[in-house]
Symmetry: C2
Subunit: 345 residues, 2 copies
């Protein structure tokens, strides 16, 4: 008889490493890794310890999926759309343009088949993935010049990636890949004309209003970005059942906590940004309409070549159409009244 | 030396009972108790077991707070506004009219001081309370006759309780206390003219559209009802640190899961209700305005007599005003576009 491996014990000592896709300066989004690690350690009396590392400390932001798959690290905390270069289906678990807001993402994930659908795909990459954060609807980014219509997008060099970058390209934008720390000097020198980042609380730290004051909304490509915890699939499956339950609950708690933190911190950051010179602007209606049309074209193109993407997109779109049937009733009319009541003072 | 009590062990065997404020037929809201119990048991390999009981099995819906305080049960899962008869401050942890939507409730609870503020008050009642579910914005309820203006509310007998009942009374409504199972026959016989319940998924089970077809929105008195898990305070404090961590994460996971479940199930229920004859109507603008005005009057009256209520309300109102500053930008404009795009087909 072969001895059972230590991991089959009920409360084995486990030490894992987690690579975050984010720097520690983004305390809200990076903080989910600390939050997860703290709960898992406390829940197991320090027996299951996950040590988080910032992006670049073990591997870079865009190497996290590979590092989990190969077992270099057991876990990552990341935005799945960073890996659209491998397969655009990765974006389906994170955010697809003009699809779901944050609550709808959670409804799709936990009660619309999303978690299973994402993991059916992730299994091909040796990853088990669980939602672990949401930013809410992001901002549309910072522009050096005002955008009055679609014409103003022609030839614009914008820091934007993934599926949204493909959509922007259809409208005449030249998408650029620029690392977070390089955005400010690129905007200042005029190497790029615009850049999308996250939302007020994170954007404020980088001071974009000084070099690209026009601050557009909404970020239609991220109605509610879901972050994920990635687990090396073999390592996940070896976990005792109680550790799996602890990890699952900690992921859900981290998911909820990140959105609550963003929602609590974004308002005062927005106020300060406007005070510091940010010119808040909605995207013109023709830009929204053209973006929506271009998005559907990109979806058709990718879907015709990629069955996994099509399957995920079809599920998300069908879910979205049902969700907005409901959200436009109670939620939207409540928010509408509250927004008007507030602006009357 | 005195021997340590068993509970000081790291993984003691604990058997607790939880009384839910809800019947099992409300599988979404009742389900949070099962969800919590399952995670806690799995996370501790069956050592910490919480057994949920439906309302009435041990004590009734409105006795849950007393049962937790006295130690008859160690836990409850309930809507805190059921106990406004003890003190209106209980409602502040659940839902106050014209305040926060579901995401804002979570932001206030976890990152706006809400959990601490609620527990400062709950400690006076021997309870430790953690958020454990949200319904989203509820519906405004079922009316036998169409409501075209505030005049149509005069003398209307409506099943509505708590602070919202006081507000309705200011507008000429006669608030009625009617248990869930008695609402349908009361509407059918005309003993009452209107009744608020929850939202499409739960309302559908009771078939109200057959006897009171006008289905109004939004339920301005519950922009995002937070349910709570109550713990007997002494029992909570005796828990080992790892069990506290497990319970806290399970409460947060249950909080997230309930809203996701409602959001996933409400749309198709709404579609079926409309197909079965429900007449969907927004409250007329003058009803919304009069309700808002009456709400602020009720708030002033309660605040002048109750310092705990005033403290909680002031915190929630200040938070609300900041939140809608932000929500009207990204979230609302994204939702607005998606709702319009959907209705164009």
């Amino acid at each position: 008889a072969v001895a059972k491996p230590a991991i089959a014990q009920s409360n084995p000592e486990i030490r894992w490493r987690l690579t975050s896709g984010f720097p520690k300066s983004l305390d809200t989004i990076y903080g989910a890794a600390d939050f997860f690690a703290k709960y898992v350690s406390e829940a197991t009396d320090g027996k299951f310890v996950v040590q988080p590392f910032a992006a670049g400390e073990i591997v870079g932001t865009f190497q996290a999926a590979d590092a989990v798959q190969s077992g270099t690290v057991e876990m990552a905390h990341t935005a799945s759309y960073y890996y659209v270069g491998k397969d655009p289906t990765f974006a389906a678990g994170a955010a697809l343009p003009f699809t779901l807001n944050a609550r709808q993402q959670n409804a799709w994930m936990y009660h619309g088949g999303g978690v299973d659908l994402v993991n059916e795909f992730m299994a091909k990459h040796g990853i088990h993935a669980l939602p672990g954060g949401n930013t809410g609807t992001q901002m549309g980014g910072w522009f050096r010049k005002e955008i009055k219509s679609v014409q103003d997008l022609q030839g614009l060099k914008m820091r934007i990636a993934g599926v949204a970058g493909q959509v922007m390209a259809k409208m005449g934008v030249i998408p650029q890949q620029v690392a977070g720390g390089d955005i400010y000097p690129s905007l200042e020198r005029g190497t790029i004309d615009a850049a999308e980042w996250i939302g007020p609380y994170d954007d404020e730290k980088l001071g974009f209003q000084k070099v690209a004051p026009y601050y557009y909304y909404p970020g239609w490509w991220e109605g509610g970005l879901t972050l994920h915890f990635y687990f090396n699939k073999a390592k996940w499956e070896e976990l005792p059942k109680n550790y799996k339950a602890i990890a699952e609950a900690a992921c859900m708690a981290a998911n909820l906590d990140m959105l609550a933190k963003y929602d609590a911190r974004n308002p005062s950051a927005l106020r300060r940004l406007v005070g510091a010179g940010a010119q808040l602007r909605p995207f013109p209606q023709d830009v929204m309409e053209a973006s929506y049309k271009a998005t559907n074209e990109v979806y058709d193109e990718i879907s015709s070549k990629n069955a996994d993407f099509k399957k995920a997109l079809d599920s998300i779109r069908a879910f979205r159409n049902e969700e907005y049937l409901w959200f436009q009733v109670g939620e939207y009319s409540f928010d509408t009244f509250m927004i008007r009541a507030r602006s009357r003072g």
